[in-house]
Structure formats: structure tokens, C-alpha cells
């Protein structure tokens, strides 16, 4: 008797399911993609218990007739390609025709669908891959797929599902990516009837991103956009100074698909180069569009990876676009020109690259350089830091010659590294000559007048201090002799309860008195000790504003919130406080920018002053 058997279809589907259906989030992804492929203009996603008990995706797409409803449950049944040649230019999400059968084999599935032409729709009930019932049903045009009891027949899988929250987190991330990638469609996501994401069809990317990430977060992002015949990149990148501990917030879409694209990650890393500390990742939201024939998406069944035909060019194109965007934010001449003369420095001293600060971008009247990908020789042969390649900028606009000859963009500044020992010395050597309405410190720098944003400088100093303390986790907590009683709104109270453990780990001891009343009994000793109430409110706001709740709120965010509250209290600085502030600023890792990426200091060069006073043309 032969040992080899053809597996029953439902068994092989169940095996395939392992690849496609990893967790509830992957089911959501497949179903939503199907809805989008069906031309839906609104997709609603309803989740119960993190997808364990229910996932329902309903759309208003073109639906399926009674025949297709049954056909779509067959393995390799797809309406999206018919020949191998089609694979070459896929522009739909699905094409393998294996998602629905795979999902259906590991749950209780209910599929309702109706094409607009027919007065009635069809309903199919499937359990464990076996069709139990088919019936005519009344329903709106479109499709609704309900997945109940996911993995009920794969106990091992079911056991490996993580907590409801974790699964929700993954689902939210998937929907968020899909919502960002598909501006034509509206999305609605609920967890146990709580609205999580709601965007309307047609909202542009900026609106969508703001609705999803919150105004504050978007304020720290700057737009990127560049285009040529073959490539297009758009989206947002973080201002220098805003970073995360993981790559999670580097969201990249290629031709509308969220993708793990090493090429792009590397381009981002190189573009920020010295602006980002090792092991930190600036959040980005990037959309790269490539001609379909120049990209291969069929690399991984979960389709998170792509292969670009011209990998290096794509990377360079994206890198240049980001650098150009970053340069736009430095709207004035360099804060301190001194570091430019110092090409070599140690690794730890990374910060705003001298080049970035020195390029005269963003000055009114400056012409933006058109992207010259694939033609410009400089692009073919980028320097390792890639900065020198784009220094060609100065040739584009010779009218904007460097203001300080010694520090001009054409001078050799090595690999565009950062504040040097000499740069720090230059800050130290500055002579503070005054204070402008308790907002800006005025100082005499080596190359002119330096204005220091007191608030930004203070924030940078505090931020690094708090961050350091929060990261080291060895923080002492200071008990309060007189505890602080706080009242919160119901929503804030809920956030506080939810993240109680995390705050506790940071060093807060907060007693829950029920209702909206809490009592703070201890605070992290390294945190600012004043305005505790304000600080907690700011931390809660940060958590609330974050797209995914505190799971996404890393130490950076908490540190940022904590220093926000503390800095508010400071206004008028005495002479000794000024000296101390500058000293502390010099000792930070990134003294030129505040944690939000705004500059802490700007320099008005003598040349500029001379020009303004008409002493020099």
C-alpha cells in the first residue's frame, strides 16, 4: 500500500494557512486588501477580543455573485490574474488566490456578498474549511467576511496568540498602514465597539496622518517630495532630534503596499547620518512609487518585502529627497560656524552635521534644485555620507554664496560630521551679551551674533537628562512626604490606569482612589520635581496622542512630556543660570536642536549684518 497520499484539500489549506494566517492581524490584512481590490470606498473593520472571537471586514466594493462566492473559497482561485505573464505587472494586493481558503480552514467563517445588479446576496457558512451552508440573503451591495473563533481547530496556534492588547496592537498597525496607503477609501476600525481609527474616503495624506497620529506628532514631521520619470517619493520624515528606539515608526510604502524595505531604511539612516545617535530611528512615513515592472513583490507570501530592479538608485533617490527636506528646516545660517573647520571628530560627538547647518537652503529666493536622478553624475557616485554629493547645491544657486568664506559649503568639511570639540569650544567661548524678552539669549560668537532659544536649549538639556535616567532604569524614586492629589477626566483616568505599570516602572507611585482621583506618592528622582500635576497631564496627553497608546510611547516620548512640563515653569534666567544653561547645553549630545528638532541657536553672521546695514552689497 502506498504511503504517499494526496492530502485532503482542507488539510493542505490548513498548512497553507500557517503561512498566510499568522495571527488575527494577518487575517485583517488579507480581508481588507480584498476589499480594496474590490474597489471599496469604505471598509469597516470590527474586532472583538483582539480578533480571537470576531473579525469582521465589510466593504461596499463590487461584491461577488453566488458562483464567485463559492469559487473564491477554492485554493488558487483568484480573479486578479489569469496567466503567468500577469504576474509581471500586478497592481492588486492579492493574486495568489490562497487567502480566503486558508483563512476559512482555520475558523468559522461567514461570507456575505452581493453584486449591485442582483437584488439579493449570497451567504456561505464555512467551518474548518468545509462549507456548511449556502443561502440567499438580503444584504447591501458589497462583501462582508466574518471570522469567528480563529484557530479553533489549531489549539497550538490558538495558545500562541498573545494578549488581546498585543493582538489589537498588531491589527491597529496593519489598518493604520492600509489607511495611509489607500487615500481613496475610508476606514473604520473598532475594538470591542470602541472606535480606534476613522478616516474618510478622500482625505489627503496630511489629513489622514494627522487624524491617525495626532497634531502634535505631525508637527514634528516635515514633508518630503521628489519625482522623476521612474520614481516618486512623498510623505513625511521626522525633524532631526526626534527619534525612537526601534524602526517601528519607520513606515514605508512601495506602490501603496506597506513594505519592509531595507533599501529604504538604509537610505533613511544615511540621510540623517550624524543627526541620529546610534541605535535610534527617526520616524518616517514614506511613499515610494516605482513603475510596476521595476519592482518584484513576489518575494514573501506575507508580501512585506520587495525587490527593486535598481535597488541602489531607489535608495539614492530616496536619500536625496530626505536630505533636501531636512535642509529646508534650517532656515538660517549656521548656529555656530566653527565646527565646519573641524572635519575629524570622535564617534560619540555626532549631531547636526555641519553641512546641513551651513547650506543656505530655505532662504527666500532660493531655487530648489530639481531632482536629477539617473542622469547626474554626482548621484551615481555618492560619497559615503552622501552629503558631499548634494553639496552640488551651491553650484545650482551661486548667488547664495556662503556668508562666511572660511565655512563655505565648498570648503572641505570632511564627512559632514558634527559638533566637534572645537564646536563645543566655540559655544563655550561665546560671550553672552544680553537677553531678549526672556526668550532669547544673545551672544557674541566667533562669526557674528548668536541667538539662543532659551526654551529650546533648556528642553534639550532636560530631555537628555531625563531620557538618560529613564533608559538606565536604575532610577531612584523620591517618596513624597505630602502626596499630591490629582483629579483627571474619565478618559485620562482610563489612560492612567491602563499604563499604571509602565509609569510605576519609571518611578511613579500612583495610588488609584477610584473614580477620577489619584494620589502621587513618589516620583522618579531624576525627573523635574516641580509641576508634577502638569507633568503627569503632559505624559497622559503624549500617551493619548500617540497613535497606538503607550505601547508606542517610548522613553523619548515620556522624557519629552516630562521636560515640557518642567520647562514651562522657567522664564527669567539670572546671569548664573544662563552660564549654567550654556554649559549644560554644550555637554549634550545634540546641542544644536531641541528634542522637537527645532534649532536651539542660530547665527547671524557679520557678513549678513554688514549686508543689512548696507556696508557691503
Amino acid at each position: 500500500m502506498s504511503r504517499i497520499r494526496i492530502l485532503a484539500e482542507e488539510v493542505s489549506n490548513r498548512i497553507a494557512a500557517g503561512e498566510v494566517v499568522e495571527r488575527p492581524a494577518s487575517v485583517v490584512k488579507e480581508l481588507v486588501e480584498n476589499s480594496l481590490d474590490a474597489g471599496a470606498s469604505h471598509v469597516s473593520i470590527q474586532i472583538r477580543r483582539g480578533g480571537r472571537s470576531l473579525i469582521r471586514v465589510s466593504d461596499d466594493g463590487f461584491g461577488m455573485d453566488s458562483e464567485d462566492v463559492l469559487l473564491c473559497l477554492e485554493a488558487h482561485a483568484t480573479s486578479k490574474i489569469s496567466s503567468a505573464a500577469d504576474i509581471e505587472k500586478i497592481d492588486s494586493f492579492g493574486f495568489r488566490g490562497e487567502a480566503l481558503p486558508s483563512i476559512a480552514s482555520v475558523c468559522h467563517l461567514e461570507l456575505r456578498s452581493r453584486v449591485a445588479e442582483n437584488p439579493a446576496g449570497t451567504e456561505v457558512l464555512v467551518s474548518g474549511g468545509v462549507i456548511r451552508n449556502v443561502a440567499e440573503t438580503g444584504c447591501a451591495p458589497g462583501t462582508s467576511v466574518t471570522v469567528k473563533n480563529l484557530f479553533y481547530n489549531l489549539p497550538a496556534r490558538r495558545k500562541f496568540l498573545r494578549s488581546v492588547r498585543t493582538e489589537e496592537f498588531h491589527i491597529q498597525e496593519i489598518v493604520l498602514l492600509l489607511a495611509l496607503a489607500n487615500p481613496r477609501a475610508g476606514f473604520q476600525l473598532t475594538f470591542d465597539d470602541r472606535p480606534i481609527i476613522a478616516v474618510q474616503a478622500g482625505n489627503d495624506l496630511a489629513t489622514r496622518a494627522t487624524m491617525i497620529f495626532g497634531k502634535d506628532s505631525m508637527r514634528s514631521m516635515i514633508p518630503v517630495s521628489a519625482e522623476n520619470d521612474e520614481l516618486k517619493v512623498g510623505g513625511f520624515v521626522a525633524r532631526p532630534g526626534l527619534t525612537r528606539t526601534s524602526r517601528r515608526e519607520q513606515r514605508v510604502f512601495v506602490n501603496g503596499r506597506p513594505i519592509d524595505a531595507r533599501t529604504i531604511y538604509n537610505a533613511v539612516r544615511d540621510a540623517y547620518h550624524t543627526m541620529v545617535m546610534k541605535g535610534r530611528y527617526p520616524p518616517v512615513l514614506l511613499f515610494v512609487d516605482v513603475l510596476p515592472e521595476l519592482v518584484d513583490v513576489n518575494v514573501h507570501p506575507a508580501k512585506r518585502e520587495v525587490r527593486f530592479r535598481h535597488d541602489r538608485q531607489v535608495g539614492e533617490f530616496v536619500g536625496i529627497a530626505i536630505r533636501q527636506a531636512l535642509r529646508q528646516i534650517v532656515t538660517d545660517s549656521p548656529p555656530i560656524p566653527e565646527p565646519l573647520r573641524q572635519p575629524q571628530m570622535s564617534e560619540r560627538e555626532t549631531t547636526m552635521p555641519a553641512t546641513l547647518l551651513n547650506v543656505n537652503a530655505g532662504i527666500p529666493g532660493r531655487r530648489r534644485e530639481p531632482m536629477s536622478f539617473a542622469t547626474g553624475a554626482s548621484v551615481d557616485e555618492p560619497s559615503p555620507s552622501a552629503f558631499s554629493a548634494t553639496d552640488a547645491d551651491s553650484e545650482v544657486a551661486p548667488a547664495f554664496a556662503p556668508r562666511s568664506p572660511a565655512a563655505g559649503p565648498n570648503s572641505d568639511r570632511g564627512r559632514g560630521t558634527s559638533i566637534s570639540a572645537a564646536g563645543r569650544d566655540a559655544i563655550r567661548a561665546m560671550r553672552v551679551i544680553g537677553c531678549l524678552s526672556d526668550l532669547y539669549l544673545l551672544a557674541e560668537g566667533p562669526d557674528g551674533l548668536v541667538l539662543i532659544d532659551q526654551h529650546a536649549a533648556h528642553e534639550r538639556v532636560l530631555f537628555e537628562k531625563i531620557l538618560h535616567a529613564a533608559r538606565s532604569r536604575d532610577g531612584n524614586r523620591q517618596g513624597l512626604l505630602i502626596p499630591v492629589t490629582m483629579e483627571f477626566s474619565n478618559a485620562d483616568a482610563a489612560v492612567l490606569r491602563k499604563h499604571h505599570d509602565r509609569l510605576n516602572r519609571l518611578g511613579f507611585e500612583i495610588d488609584d482612589f477610584g473614580g477620577s482621583t489619584f494620589v502621587i506618592n513618589a516620583v522618579p528622582a531624576h525627573f523635574p520635581q516641580t509641576n508634577l500635576t502638569g507633568m503627569l497631564h503632559d505624559i497622559i496627553d503624549t500617551i493619548t496622542d500617540s497613535p497606538l497608546g503607550a505601547r508606542r510611547v517610548d522613553d523619548d516620548a515620556i522624557a519629552l512630556a516630562a521636560c515640557k512640563a518642567a520647562v514651562k515653569a522657567h522664564d527669567h534666567l539670572s546671569a548664573s543660570e544662563i552660564t549654567q544653561l550654556l554649559q549644560q547645553l554644550v555637554d549634550t549630545e545634540l546641542p544644536y536642536t531641541c528634542p522637537h528638532g527645532r534649532p536651539t541657536m542660530i547665527n547671524i553672521a557679520f557678513g549678513e549684518l554688514e549686508r543689512r546695514f548696507g556696508r557691503r552689497a
Partner: protein, 364 residues
């Protein structure tokens, strides 16, 4: 107004009142000092509307009158004069002639009518203290006052008078200092809580240097201090001071006595390895031994033992050294007694008579 006054008295008087003046653009008259003849004296006053101070100095009055002059400039001019008599003569155009010896200034002033009068203190209570003792009390606790503007009630010193004793209290929520004293005449039956803003406490301390008495007048909303020829008047901080008695543990399991100055030295030495305001110094107690230690990743570590009288169980308690340094610096006693229950609960330090300090340990 036409008066003649000794430059030394003027300088001395201005020194007492000048600090109240803050540079304001909204009410320019507050940048000025009010000068007026009153009861045969020259009365000088400054105010920031919350706090005001009047000081009276002897003078020869030729013609009664009043004027306000830019306070800082006036003080600067007077301070530059050699000792001798200064003549002040105002004319109806608000110009004041200031002359001393050969020097003559004409300074523009503002009318006295624009100057806000100090609040009338509806006297509820009146109480006298010895100046030096009162000043010392303020010094022994003043450092504990909170600077956190979000908890305004803690931005001052509480004077709590009950059942014939007065307790002066200051706390920033992490540590608390108090001095308690019995009052003569059982305090004349005064009963109440009064919170003095830090600014007044600071000004007051300058006026309390010499021997003699200070008379304190208290109302629901104001306090005034009459010291020799000066009167300092201030609003009280509104609100209810936290129940400080509640944070003082009622009983202690352990007690250790340490010589104050030696202890301060050791503490300062050991904390030299710390570079962060949030760092702690550890106190390891074993029978008859106390070892102070501290460490930081950036600098290194330090340790130093002290002989102490201690009989309890071995225990380690961590403190913010800054919170210990303050009382050590401001006390006079030879020995301190530290009382505690364990490493988590509030710890009490006793020293000078009537002084008590409560501090919350740090924990990790």
C-alpha cells in the same frame, strides 16, 4: 517738600526697602520710591502691591510734602554721595532737586497720589518676638520652602499659632522643617494659621539682624511686621496648608545620634562622586556604625564610616544628600538625632531645641 537728611540714614533706609522694587512696565510708579514727610520724619516706601515696606528716618523738615522718585536711580545717586546732609527739594513740576555738598541733581518724579497705599491690616492678633530668635527660626526652616509655582500654598512659611505655642513650618512636599516654641503669656489666646510668602520671609530676615523686638500684626489676609522704624506689610498666601502633623511619624523603632559638623563633612565628601540632582547617598547602619556611601557611573564611588550610637537592626536607607545638607548647615546644635522606622517611612531629624525635620527616603 523740602527736607534735609543725613546721607548715611538715607542709604541705610534705602537698603531695607530697595529689594521690593521690581522693574515693571505696566505700572511705572512701582519702579519708584515714595518719599513723604510724616510725623516729623521722612517716610520712604516701596511696594510691589503684594508686599510693601515703609521705613521712617529722621530729618529736618522745612516744608511738608511728598513725591515718588525712580528707586534704583535715587539709591544710586544717594549712595555716591560722601557722608553729610542731603537736601531734597521738590517743585510743583514733579522735579526734585537732590543736593549734597557741591553736587546737585534734578530728577524727574511721579506724583505721590499714584502710589498705591499699603493694605490696611485689620488687626486680629498682635504678638511680639525677639528679633534675633525669630530670624534664626526663619533661617532654620526657610530652605525647605517649595519653589513649585503649581503648589502656591507651599511657597511660603506657615506660622501656626495654637494653644500657646507657635510652629513655623516649611515644606516642598519631599521634606519638611519646623520649629516649635512656647509663647509667653500663652500667646494671648491667638489661634490660627498664617502663610507668609517667601519674598517677605527673605526681606524680613534682613530686618531682623539686631537685637530687640519685632511686633507682628496678623489679619485673615495680611501680616505686618513692625521693626524699629520700619513696617513690612504683606499679603498672606491664600489656601489651606497641608496637615503637616500627619506626616510626622508618631513613634520610631530606631534612633541614632551623630555629631552634626562631622556628619556634614562626611556627607559632603561622599557626595562628591555624585553628579546628578536625582542621585542618592546610602546610609548603612549597623550596631555602633554608620557607613555613608555613594556612587555614580560617570565619576566613581565613595564610602566613609562614622562611629555612632546605634543599637537597632542593620538597615540601609537612601537619601537625597541635598535634603540633608540644608538642615545640617543651618542648625547650631552639636549633635543630631535621627529617628526612623525603616527604609521606606519618613525619617525624622532632631537638633536645636524645638526643631524637627522630616525627610522622605529615596527608594529604588
Amino acid at each position: 517738600m523740602k527736607v534735609s537728611v543725613s546721607s548715611k540714614n538715607l542709604v541705610e533706609g534705602l537698603r531695607k526697602i530697595l529689594n521690593i522694587v521690581t522693574v515693571r512696565t505696566t505700572m511705572p510708579v512701582l519702579n519708584n520710591v515714595l518719599l513723604r514727610t510724616q510725623n516729623g520724619m521722612l517716610s520712604m516706601m516701596t511696594t510691589d502691591t503684594d508686599v510693601s515696606i515703609v521705613t521712617n528716618i529722621e530729618c529736618d523738615i522745612e516744608e511738608e510734602g511728598d513725591i515718588t522718585l525712580p528707586a534704583k536711580k535715587f539709591a544710586q545717586i544717594i549712595g555716591s554721595f560722601p557722608s553729610g546732609d542731603v537736601k531734597l527739594v521738590t517743585d510743583p513740576t514733579m522735579t526734585t532737586e537732590i543736593s549734597c555738598g557741591q553736587a546737585m541733581f534734578k530728577i524727574m518724579g511721579l506724583p505721590a497720589e499714584d502710589f498705591p497705599e499699603p493694605a490696611e491690616v485689620q488687626e486680629l492678633h498682635k504678638i511680639d518676638f525677639n528679633k534675633i530668635e525669630f530670624g534664626k527660626t526663619l533661617k532654620k526652616i526657610g530652605y525647605s520652602v517649595s519653589t513649585d509655582q503649581t503648589r502656591p500654598i507651599l511657597n511660603g512659611i506657615l506660622l501656626s499659632i495654637h494653644e500657646g505655642s507657635i510652629t513655623a513650618v516649611a515644606t516642598d512636599g519631599r521634606r519638611l522643617a519646623l520649629v516649635e516654641k512656647l509663647l509667653d503669656d500663652a500667646g494671648n489666646g491667638i489661634d490660627g494659621d498664617f502663610v507668609l510668602p517667601t519674598k517677605v520671609v527673605n526681606e524680613l530676615q534682613k530686618l531682623l539682624e539686631q537685637d530687640g523686638d519685632v511686633t507682628v500684626r496678623l489679619s485673615e489676609s495680611h501680616a505686618s511686621f513692625i521693626i524699629d522704624n520700619s513696617v513690612l506689610t504683606s499679603k498672606l498666601i491664600d489656601g489651606e496648608y497641608p496637615n503637616y502633623r500627619q506626616v510626622i511619624p508618631g513613634a520610631f523603632k530606631n534612633s541614632v545620634t551623630i555629631p552634626r559638623e562631622h556628619f556634614a563633612e562626611v556627607l559632603n565628601r561622599v557626595s562628591m562622586v555624585l553628579n546628578d540632582a536625582g542621585a542618592s547617598v546610602k546610609f548603612k547602619l549597623e550596631p555602633n556604625h554608620l557607613t555613608l556611601s555613594a556612587s555614580s557611573a560617570e565619576i566613581g564611588e565613595a564610602e566613609e564610616p562614622l562611629e555612632v550610637s546605634y543599637e537597632g537592626d542593620p538597615v540601609t536607607i537612601a537619601f537625597n544628600p541635598a535634603y540633608l545638607r540644608d538642615p545640617l548647615k543651618n542648625l547650631d546644635c552639636d549633635d543630631l538625632t535621627i529617628r526612623f522606622n525603616d527604609e521606606f517611612k519618613p525619617v525624622v531629624i532632631l537638633g536645636d531645641e524645638g526643631f524637627l525635620y522630616v525627610i522622605m527616603p529615596m527608594r529604588s
